[in-house]
Amino acid sequence: MNNHTHSILIIGNDKQAFSIAADMLLNGHPVEIKTDDTEAAHAYLRQHVFEKANDINPEKLTVMTYLPQQIRQTMLIAVTAEDLRTKKSLIKQLESRISPDSMIALNLEGLSLQQVTEEARYPDRVLGLNFTYPAHTTLFMEIVVSEVVKGEYTERLQLIGKRLWKKDLYVVCSGFSIRARMFAAMVREALYLVENGYASVESVDRSCRNDAGYYLPFAGNFRYMDLMGTYSYGVVMETLNTDLADQQDVGSLLPGLLKDGKTGMSNGAGFYPYANGETEAWERIVHEFSTEIRKLMEKFPITFES
């Protein structure tokens, strides 16, 4: 099967979906993207695909606001908001339009595969699929499956992810995202420090950038321990593990921001304020940096083995 000529259908309304579309286009796939924001989709793909790679035929991209009655693609990638009803209803919508050998791959953060496929007719072909924004410049790919998922779909996605999309991917078989949980643990600790007056948001971010930022692109957490001298981390855990944050709720800072309409860069404010033009500047810097750090990561393939 000549996978890279196969069209992929992407469903999503935000830049995460657009960056996945960019990734697929740059990997040679024809892409159809179903989105509510066609203007933003076109703008993103123009900026990050067609203006950067002149050998990609713009006709390979179709942007639409509706889902076709018959979906011809066998690989569907969806990015939705973190909402169970939204995910469930999308799966329902897709299932009535796709062929029997098609797979539905959608983003999963806090929700589990079991939850989102509770009402699915064919849960054996629904997988979790997570990328890191911007998807076309990063190597991250997390496939989430459960024992219900048919092995051939997992294998198909693994194969194409590794061979064509060049991701150093991994598969989680327990039906939930481990990336989401590890990140949640980090944020929970950070929120604890900030909400209890130990450190400011700025201090936390500086610590991240100037400590972890100098080794994480080279080595994940456990490889780094082995580089630094593993057992000393165990010694620290003896006392530190008894002291780490353990709050069960999201606290007051985050909900407070949302209540004030501060939902992040796209809205002019989040944890930080954003003046006119700053969001666009950040997007540009993020894409620029992502390309550079990827080059640096690829310089050290020794670390790709696990």
Partner: protein
């Protein structure tokens, strides 16, 4: 009144091991007069050679604006604590031994002014504990560096229970003049900011691994390729702003109650503590290593370090502000 001009501030550094020497070079690079004291026999002599090497490295890497000659002229290696009397700040960088540190603090405090700041680079002993050994404890705090001190932006300032806020503010201000991006831990807590964040991740990952949901290698892929792809550029709060807070808040609402809260040391780590496993250094770690691996990893890491310092230097807060202005004005 506090002095902020580095040229007018004499700083003492006590303890001239690898870290102390590196810190000396960072201070020289920032224009300070530095009085460096190695308490151990022969320490000054060894340090002199090492500091020279580091100055050369700093100059080659573009971290020594005044050049080697001028920077060296700002340095004095001293043998007696009395020679530190004019220091406005003294940084203690001796071994992680409370008794030894206590002696050092006593000797420093006996000669410097009452307003002089005394700081420790300790990463093992709680600041509040050390603070109790220092005369006039309100002027004592932790100032923690990363290696090499003259090339990294990292600086964590930790307040002990008795540290005066004004002392912390002063050191934060100085830290910025040293070209650092200082972080401040305002109240006494176990661990540093970065430690606590990463150990929270370790705890969760190891819990998932122990339960068979993932492996050491996959957990590393998860963090390296996700967080590792942006954390040099932006911290977690900035990243969440970029991606949008609504979905994060919702996912945290679901996930926080599910995260590991264990107080135990995971079995795999406990075993390595018992074996004194130092990873690549004695081929006993979380991964397996062959005889050749140590050299390969060390060389790769050294090369990566050189590269990441260069890359990170182009994306410092200062650089980002410049880039932002440029795009706002359309230049």
């Amino acid at each position: 009144m506090r002095e902020y001009h580095t040229e007018k501030i004499t700083i003492g550094v006590v303890g001239l091991g690898l870290m102390g020497s590196s810190i000396v070079v960072s201070l020289l690079a920032s224009g300070h007069q530095v009085l460096a004291l190695g308490p151990l026999p022969g320490e000054n002599e060894t340090a002199a050679g090492h500091i020279s090497d580091l100055l050369r490295h700093a100059e080659r890497s573009g971290f020594l604006p005044r050049g080697i000659e001028r920077s060296l002229s700002l340095l004095q290696l001293v043998r007696r604590y009395e020679d530190l009397r004019d220091c406005k700040v003294v940084l203690e960088c001796v071994v992680e031994d409370k008794a030894i540190k206590e002696t050092v603090y006593r000797k420093i405090a006996a000669v410097v002014s009452e307003q002089a700041v005394i700081a420790s680079n300790t990463s093992a002993i709680p600041i509040s504990e050390l603070q109790q050994l220092v005369p006039r404890p309100e002027r004592f705090l932790g100032v923690h560096w990363a290696e090499p001190a003259y090339a990294t932006r990292f600086l964590e300032i930790t307040c002990g229970r008795q540290t005066a806020p004004e002392t912390a503010d002063y050191m934060t201000e100085l830290g910025e003049r040293w070209g650092k991006e200082p972080t401040l831990l305002r109240k006494d807590i176990r661990g540093f900011i970065t430690n606590r964040l990463m150990y929270a991740v370790y705890r969760e990952a190891l819990t998932l691994i122990e339960a068979g949901h993932t492996t050491i290698g996959d957990a590393d892929k998860a963090f390296k390729y996700d967080v590792g792809s942006w954390i040099t550029l932006m911290g977690i709060f900035r990243r969440m702003d970029l991606m949008g807070l609504k979905d994060y808040a919702e996912s945290f609402r679901v996930l926080f109650p599910d995260l590991s809260n264990t107080h135990e040391v995971p079995a795999v780590m406990q075993r390595l503590v018992e074996l004194r496993g130092r990873g690549i250094h004695n081929q006993t770690g979380l991964y397996t290593y062959s005889d050749q691996d140590l050299k390969v990893w060390e060389e790769a890491f050294a090369q990566f370090n050189a590269d990441i310092y260069r890359l990170a230097a182009r994306y410092t807060e200062e650089e980002l502000n410049t880039k932002n202005e440029r795009s706002l004005t359309g230049l």
